[in-house]
């Protein structure tokens, strides 16, 4: 499809932009970027995740500019991301280094280290809290102090507590194999042309930057029967993970020479999926495979849905759309899908004119043949 560049309408477009700016400020309310960062954390996380750019400040700024429109905020941040120089590649991270704020398992009640709920609305009644209409800083201050004073006394410890992965449980029982680390250079989906079938590194990247709603919908479709994966959530983790870069040339990398550049918050999910395989004697055996989901910030639904889709795409032989790489990966991207849908609003005068001509001509032909 080719588009002819449209010229004209400059004044109308300028006036429209002026009106848009006016609409944003006309009620004379100003929301600070800092306020968005600390009170709309979930929204900020989603924008960072779908934009593939970890910066709460810029995400909050994008949300402010886009007046809360997700697709617009993600578009802005992706556009900004594409202008940034790429100076270093960070070291790969070990999720065992995560500073865990929340970690639960739906597969085992008693897990080493215990279930750590953290802050979650999962077990809350969904009732509108009308007290928030007149929230006061003074009252909040009181609540903060109350919360802090009720905490158990702080114990200084030098011991670093690590939460072992729940999957280690299954490994010990021989129910889950230990894989060799895959050290293949990952594909960068933002730089390379995508060709199917594609490596898992690319699939995971495209899933993790997918639109939350789209990833969730397709994951749900797979659960409901338009797919063949029904997992049990082995582990959900949320916490911060340190990021390091190494400035040495690749030949002489020494982990002690790495620079710590900050930390990012991640949600991570490992889903256990029972898979039937036949051995050489034709006997069916059941074992487990893992579906993996991870995304920037706190977004557990997306991470779980991603883990389902990851497992689906590992089995392309199954005949469901959710097991089809091209179907899943090319349709979950926010900028691609919202961009293509909304481009339909742009002038298609010539395209439509030719369709109209075709319809008129067939009608004319029919009319003439009827009168004959």
């Amino acid at each position: 499809m080719a588009y002819v560049a449209v010229k004209g309408g400059t004044e109308a477009i300028e006036a429209s932009i002026n009106l848009l700016n006016y609409e944003r400020i006309k009620d004379k309310r100003i929301i600070e970027v800092e306020t968005i960062i600390s009170t709309m954390r979930s929204l900020v996380d989603q924008v960072m995740s779908e934009s593939s750019l970890y910066s709460p400040f810029l995400a909050a700024l994008a949300i402010k500019q886009a007046e809360g429109s997700m697709e617009e905020a993600v578009f802005l941040l992706r556009a900004h991301r594409s202008t940034l120089p790429r100076l270093y590649v960070s070291e790969s991270v070990d999720m065992n280094d995560m500073f865990v704020e929340r970690r639960i398992s739906a597969s085992f009640k008693d897990i080493p280290g215990g279930q750590l709920l953290g802050a979650t609305p999962d077990y809350k009644h969904r009732l509108l809290n009308f007290d928030l209409i007149d929230e006061s800083a003074f009252h909040n201050e009181k609540l903060i102090n109350q919360y802090k004073s009720a905490l158990p006394p702080y114990v200084n410890t030098t011991e670093v507590l690590r939460y072992p992965k729940v999957v280690e449980y299954l490994r010990k029982e021989g129910l889950f194999p230990t894989y060799e680390p895959n050290n293949e250079e990952p594909i960068d989906v933002t730089k390379e042309n995508i060709r199917f079938p594609i490596a898992r590194s690319a699939r995971l990247q495209m899933l993790t930057r997918g639109q939350t709603g789209a990833v969730t919908s397709l994951g749900y479709a797979s659960l409901r029967g338009y797919g063949a994966v029904h997992p049990t959530v082995g582990e959900v983790r949320f916490g911060s993970i340190p990021i390091h870069v190494n400035v040495q040339s690749e030949a002489e990398i020494d982990p002690d020479d790495s620079y710590y550049i900050g930390e990012i918050k991640l949600s991570e999910v490992e889903s256990f999926v029972p898979v039937t395989t036949s051995d050489e004697n034709g006997n069916d055996a059941l074992h487990f495979e893992i579906g993996y989901g991870v995304c920037f910030g706190r977004n557990e639904t997306k991470a779980i849905a991603m883990s389902i889709l990851d497992q689906c795409l590992e089995h392309p032989e199954i005949d469901f759309p959710t097991h089809d790489e091209e179907f899943v990966l090319l349709h979950i991207d926010s900028v691609e899908s919202t961009g293509f849908i909304s481009h339909l609003k742009l002038p298609h005068y010539v395209t439509f004119q030719s369709k109209l001509d075709a319809v008129r001509n067939t009608k004319k032909e029919r009319d003439t043949s009827e009168t004959n």
Partner: protein, 196 residues
């Protein structure tokens, strides 16, 4: 200061984009603050392009008498890697380059593949004086009628360029720079003919 650099290189990028869509137009780049522009021992315009276009994700090949010292500097500041000419995303030709070396690079540089024609080399070529004249004639997309130019390059340069562009969309794109902080672009679609 850091944001100054970002905004500055973004302005340079915009200038180059304009120059690329109007091949043969001599475009003056925005002025950098002095310390920034004098980092490398080359034209200011060339420096600006290096800061704008190079980063860790791309490779370059430098053709200069002083290529060892210069490439160490360029890599230190931009983090781009210096590679053999056949692999380079950018080929940088400084004023002191040997003609034979330039010709060899032109013959062997990347021109992309039919599936990925953008994976070709972009050339940054220092030249003098780069002005309107009657030496070569440019025609093609982005040029209303024709542009006549004075560029001091041997005829063989244009011959080899033509040969490497023969299988469109494969080809290479050139950005010329001069001492006056100006650039002139010659994308692969521009047809160059000798006048007279």
């Amino acid at each position: 200061m850091v944001t100054d650099q970002v905004h500055y290189t973004q302005n340079v990028y915009r200038d180059v984009l304009n120059a690329m869509s109007r091949p043969g137009d001599i475009v003056c780049l925005v002025e950098a603050d002095s310390s920034f522009a004098k980092t490398f021992n080359c034209f200011r315009a060339t420096s600006s392009l290096l800061f704008t276009l190079l980063d860790h994700d791309v490779t370059y090949h430098l053709i200069s008498d002083d290529s060892v010292n210069m490439s160490t500097m360029i890599t230190a500041y931009t983090l781009a890697r210096h590679v053999p000419v056949e692999e380079a995303d950018f080929i940088i030709v400084l004023m002191d380059a040997q003609e034979s070396e330039v010709e060899h690079a032109l013959k062997t540089c990347k021109v992309g593949t039919l599936r990925d024609p953008h994976l070709s080399a972009t050339w940054i070529v220092e030249t003098e004086p780069l002005q309107l004249g009657k030496e070569i004639k440019l025609t093609g997309p982005g040029i209303e009628t024709e542009t006549l130019l004075q560029v001091q390059l041997a005829q063989t340069f244009w011959d080899i360029r033509k040969e490497r562009l023969s299988e469109f969309p494969l080809g290479l794109d050139i950005i010329f720079t001069n001492r006056r902080n100006e650039v002139l672009c010659m994308p692969r679609t521009t047809i160059v003919e000798k006048v007279g």
